[in-house]
């Protein structure tokens, strides 16, 4: 089963703030933990609401982000989205660790 992961980006790193990110990476990971598809979406402006909307319309299963406000964290959880927050580091290393099943909330990979 394919899982879709969304990471808000700031350059090559996980964006420190969910609500201030203007770029996101959407990765589809297949059943055998192989990346099937990877694309970057540039948003017209930073908005936590728009990002939540995108997460739901794209059927994202996991969000890996930095700081996220409680309101959006709870909303996404309620919508059955797994949120791994307070993660810091370059997105490729974060993704790698996620694929290995070793990524936890609050991990700092710099």
């Amino acid at each position: 089963m394919t899982r879709k992961v969304l990471i808000p980006l700031y350059g090559n790193d996980v964006a420190p703030r969910f609500d201030l990110a203007t770029e996101v990476l959407i990765v589809s990971i297949g059943a055998d933990d192989v990346v099937e598809d990877e694309r970057t979406v540039v948003l017209p402006h930073a908005s936590a609401e728009d990002l939540c909307h995108l997460i739901l319309t794209e059927n994202i299963g996991v969000v890996i982000c930095g700081g996220i406000e409680e309101e959006y964290y709870r909303y996404l959880k309620w919508k059955k989205v797994t949120v791994l927050d307070s993660v810091m580091g370059p997105f490729d290393r974060v993704l790698e660790r996620f694929e290995e099943g070793r990524l936890r909330e609050g991990n700092i990979l710099f």
């Binding site: 703030r17 969910f18 609500d19 930095g66 700081g67 996220i68 406000e69 409680e70 964290y73 927050d85 307070s86 609050g106």
Partner: protein
């Protein structure tokens, strides 16, 4: 952040591990070695939740609430103040002494988005020219004898804030030119330095002088006036604010009675009449001092005319005599002469006194000096000053 930049303070927010948004104040400052080499930057993040609570209270206290006014002239000013606060334009405040120029400048700073920055006051009339230049613009070590270290100057201290120049009319012409350059390019050149510093400062200037008149007399630069005169606020004198006098009397009465723990009920009708009729040349400051004096002196239940400063009641009696004199059928020539005398200024009166004494002494200076109660040299100096040849 460029290497030459001054410390910068920004307001923002962060999200903590508990997913709570915390308002913070972030300051970036360059760290330099003793020889001025840049070593790095220092970043401090300050939780401002407590400060925000406090500033709400301060905001209430400052919501032009320090100004007590009901008159339409002041209401017009209150209406434009919030708008002025939000701009970065220079403000020129004019008004007589004691009308609240300082209070207004501070209120503008508090309502602006620079209110987290410094509010620096400089009185241009209080310092001699050379000191003032170094005070305002700073100096470089070794720029003059006694300049043993670098001094940043008030302009740089007011970075990201407001600089309030009191009595701008007293600013010497040379410094006016320097100020003009700053208003044009926002760069400060400290004394003895070839390097300029970019500063972000909002200027508020105040004066009780008539700057247009000073321009005509060549004492104030016209181009500086134009640059300062972006937003001009004129604070009306108290005597033109009518009903505000009563309001201010009550306000200061309550302030001082509670501060001094006095049990006074209020002003007697007679005292109130004197206070309401007085012209208040010293404006609100004078009114406040009069009330403070009266509250201190009064040991009775009500403030009576005898509890007011003597000069008030003297003027009152003088006024009564004068108004009485108008109704009397005195020879017109005499009253004219009296009015004329009242209109003369002190210099003219002094000149007249000297001439009269000289006439009485038949031109003998020593006798004239004795008649005037002066020394001979004083008389000689004054005669020279007034251009009197005996």
């Amino acid at each position: 952040m460029p290497e030459e930049s001054e410390p910068t303070c920004l307001e923002g927010n962060i999200i903590n591990r508990d997913s709570k948004k915390i308002p913070v104040r972030i300051t970036f400052a360059p760290v330099r070695s003793l020889d001025g080499k840049l070593l790095g930057f220092l970043e401090t993040v300050e939780d401002t939740r407590v400060l925000q609570e406090l500033s709400k209270k301060i905001g209430q206290a400052y919501s032009f609430g320090d100004f007590i006014a009901r008159s339409p002239q002041m209401e017009r000013i209150f209406q434009i103040l919030p708008v002025i606060g939000q701009t970065h334009s220079s403000v020129l405040i004019t008004g007589e002494t004691g009308t609240g120029k300082d209070l207004l400048a501070e209120a503008i700073h508090q309502t602006s988005n620079r209110n987290k920055g410094p509010f620096i006051k400089v009185n241009c009339g209080a310092l001699p020219e050379t000191l003032l230049e170094s005070e305002l613009f700073g100096h470089q070590k070794g720029a003059f004898t006694g300049a043993v270290e670098n001094k940043p100057g008030r302009f740089r201290l007011a970075h990201n804030g407001t600089l309030y120049l009191i009595e701008i009319g007293d600013l010497p012409l040379a410094l006016q030119v320097k100020l003009l350059t700053f208003l044009d390019d926002k760069i400060i050149y400290p004394l003895g330095s070839t390097k300029g510093y970019q500063v972000d400062v909002r200027m508020i200037a105040a004066t009780h002088r008539n700057l247009e008149l000073m321009v005509r007399e060549g004492l104030f630069r016209e181009d500086l006036l134009f640059r300062l005169n972006v937003v001009r606020i004129h604070l009306p004198p108290l005597r033109e604010r009518g009903e505000d006098i009563r309001l201010l009397l009550d306000h200061f009465f309550h302030t001082f009675t509670s501060r001094f723990g006095k049990r006074i009920r209020g002003f007697s009708n007679k005292a109130l009449r004197i206070l309401l009729e007085y012209q208040y040349p010293g404006n609100v400051r004078e009114l406040r001092n009069i009330v403070e004096y009266a509250v201190n002196i009064c040991l009775e239940e009500q403030i009576q005319p005898e509890h007011l400063p003597a000069y008030l009641t003297d003027i009152e009696s003088w006024n009564r005599v004068e108004s009485g004199a108008e109704h009397q059928t005195a020879p017109p020539s005499q009253t004219d002469q009296e009015d004329g005398e009242a209109n003369l200024n002190w210099a003219a009166i002094e000149r007249k006194m000297i001439i009269e004494a000289l006439v009485k002494a038949k031109g003998r200076r020593s006798k004239a000096a004795a008649l005037l109660g002066w020394g001979r040299s004083t008389l000689w100096r004054k005669m020279k000053q007034f251009g009197i040849d005996a």
